[in-house]
Symmetry: C2
Subunit: 446 residues, 2 copies
């Protein structure tokens, strides 16, 4: 990487991804004599920690998203492009977007995040959607709300029970947060609105392959979280390995659980762009970055956030949480700047900001190293931290008011089922009009 280019034009910095790592990298470079192009396939930065609240209809999608170009509007050295990055050529130093257009760079920061991993069962994705993007959250919200609508419409008690059974696979923070929200919504908010089903019969089953929930937390907080979940009515099953997911059921070996709504909170896989870098990746497809956040052999290419596998201490890896993405993105940009100025680079010293997970409406577990709390105190901490870090004043106010509303009334503000058509049943064949369908012939979603 050269401090300035031979022609005297400013360094071209390309940042791929407008998540936590990408945004903070751009902001770190706001006064630098560089030309930044930030590329994201969406138009928005997403506050991922609250995604499960969109999925459960507490918050509206626009509450936790802000247009990336709005966040960076006053930063004159930055152009934002909404485009799909398709490949990186580290030798020619170009990123290919859309239908083959090339964006050249002098330095690159790769921060395209992760998707879920289905451990070789990609065919499960359409039956058990994961929760990474705002589209994912809207998809889950649709399925979650449609399940109750279909239960109400069904004439078959067994089918109704299957519609009122929600299976969450994976008891990490996302799985625990999703599972914890559902029982109260079903019992309190929805009960008076249904006539043909008793929504208090809703079952929520949380399946975890490991020996305990929230594996990244200390053991006693895992135990507490499990107790709290069970108090809410969630059936927690550890050492439970899903062997098959099919329309209408989840299999654990020989055991079949009837359900029409399966949510996936299990695995992570880095954005497939890492594969075009030609450097070693870990099992989740993440780049094994150097301590300065650059990739081996290419000091001008950095990786940060969920695409990067960085060593923390004692062979522990930096976890895939928002504060870690922030620290990595900032360091990548700082090291880029230091090289521009002819200074040496810094190495990552990850500061653990702690681990938080909410359980239902007013419980949480929090692990801040020395301070480890559970229950309502942890929940208030969670509330405070999330409002604090939520980008944008308007979003903060809107989220706070919706929380107060939801908390006070048990009602969900954003219970909109949109774009339901593709989930609905097809029109009947023109023949046989007038013959009533057999009970329970409602097809599950495709």
């Amino acid at each position: 990487m050269t401090p300035t280019t031979s022609t005297g034009r400013p360094q071209r910095v390309v940042i791929l991804g407008g998540g936590f790592a990408g945004i903070i990298a751009a902001r770190t470079l706001r006064n630098a004599p560089v030309e930044i192009t930030l590329i994201d396939r969406t138009n928005h930065h997403l506050f991922q920690p609250l995604l499960y609240q969109v999925a459960t209809a507490v918050l509206a999608p626009s509450d936790i998203t802000s247009p990336i170009r709005h966040l960076l509007r006053s930063q004159q050295n930055t152009t934002v492009l909404m485009a799909e990055a398709r490949a990186i050529d580290v030798d020619r130093r170009v990123v290919t977007i859309d239908e083959g257009r090339e964006i050249p760079y002098d330095s690159l920061i790769l921060a395209t995040g992760a998707r879920h991993s289905y451990f070789g069962h990609d065919e499960w994705e359409r039956l058990a959607p994961g929760l990474k993007s705002i589209d994912d959250a809207q998809d889950i919200r649709r399925r979650f709300l449609l399940a109750f609508e279909r239960a109400e419409k069904s004439l078959d008690p067994e089918e109704q029970a299957a519609y009122l059974t929600f299976v969450v696979i994976g008891a990490g923070p996302t799985g625990v947060e999703l599972a914890g929200m559902i029982p109260e919504i079903a019992r309190e908010g929805m009960r008076p609105e249904f006539r043909n089903v008793d929504t208090r019969r809703t079952r929520v089953i949380l399946l975890e392959g490991a020996t305990r929930v929230l594996l990244t937390f200390p053991e006693h907080l895992s135990e507490r979280a499990q107790r709290d979940l069970e108090t809410l009515g969630v059936e927690v099953r550890t050492k439970a390995l899903v062997t098959k997911i099919e329309p209408g059921a989840v299999w654990l070996g020989e055991e079949r659980i009837r359900t029409h709504t399966v949510l996936w909170g299990a695995g992570n896989a880095a954005s497939p762009l890492t594969r075009s870098l030609g450097v070693p990746l870990d099992r989740a497809g993440r780049v094994l970055v150097q301590p300065d956040m650059s990739i081996p052999g290419h000091p001008e290419v950095f990786a940060a956030g969920d695409v990067a596998a960085a060593v923390w201490k004692d062979n522990l890896m930096v976890p895939g949480v928002a504060p870690a993405a922030n620290q990595m993105g900032r360091l990548a940009a700082e090291n880029l700047l230091r090289t521009l100025r002819g200074e040496g680079r810094k190495t990552l010293r990850y500061t653990d900001k702690g681990n938080l997970a909410t359980i239902g409406r007013n419980r949480a577990v929090a692990d801040f190293g020395k301070l480890r709390v559970a229950g309502r105190m942890a929940w208030f901490l969670w509330l405070f931290v999330h409002i604090l870090y939520l980008v944008g004043f308007r979003n903060r106010m809107s989220v706070l008011s919706q929380w107060i509303y939801a908390f006070a009334t048990y009602r969900r503000a954003a219970r909109l089922i949109d774009n339901a058509e593709r989930y609905m049943t097809p029109p009947p064949a023109p023949a046989a009009a007038g013959s009533p369908a057999p009970p329970g012939s409602g097809r599950p979603e495709p």
Copy 2:
């Protein structure tokens, strides 16, 4: 229609549609000894008068929608089903839903509303979406916001100009409201966020086939509205007949306007369900109802709202506005009740609540018969009326706060592009990687 059935069971009332007419009909029957089933293809009641604000990213979809079953939750005689009504058999008195299941009724209130009409050019729909449902509004929002994203990404000035050209077809209230919002958003809110295009160059062209905009208003208010639109920067063209819409352009005879975003505010067509009634329809497919809101030959079947063509006075028809739908829906339910009680029926006496249309951020025209105002005064009236009629306390507060925010900052709170994938360009053919695409090769949306 018999007051009670021969078996002594309560009358079964089926209401099709949860819009203004359907909801008020259900509420009018809340204490009646009947069993109501309200069927809607969506789960929500929609406050249609504010739909254009979702389309232009001011309000979030959940701000103007409320789950129908939530609105009717305390009404124990009512079951809400989310289902598609496919046919009505008035002789056998059954409604067919979904894949052939039949719902029998003793009385029926048809209130399934209208879609847009493309006057025989149904192929225009995918190029020029109309604005009736929340899905329509989200579709328009996506196209509207993506046009700016594509302009920023394009390398071809002509293509950029085409992306920054918005054509609105039809200058009724919807067309005027859509067109009036765009210039200010482009000039004020978006300008600082774009680097490659000057969003102040955005063109908004409003095409109307008739001799003036807002044809249902008095002539001097039409003139005032046109002047206000032109002050905002909208190019208003009356007596302009669209002859062809194709990807990338709209044709007026020999004249071709390059644009990638065409919005349709022109025609209405009643829900196709009216065709299965076997009674005379008007040109827009609406049922020619009797003065008591029932259909000819079937006193037990009523039609209300945008599916009904009712005579007002002097051969004028009741207009397709929310207050009219409310009055028709209430009268249909009242007459149903009166017959149950053995009383005679009332006939429709439509009370005109006036006509309102906003133009941009702080102008409107209002026609209340004797009182006809324009400008800021009319805008305050509009604001007051819409907040007043918006269903649900939470929605009211949320909408009010978003308006204050948008008004104070010119910023749009809900500028989320979701589900963009199907509008994006396809991945490149695997060959020829590395050859830059020619400028302006970005394909318009399908």
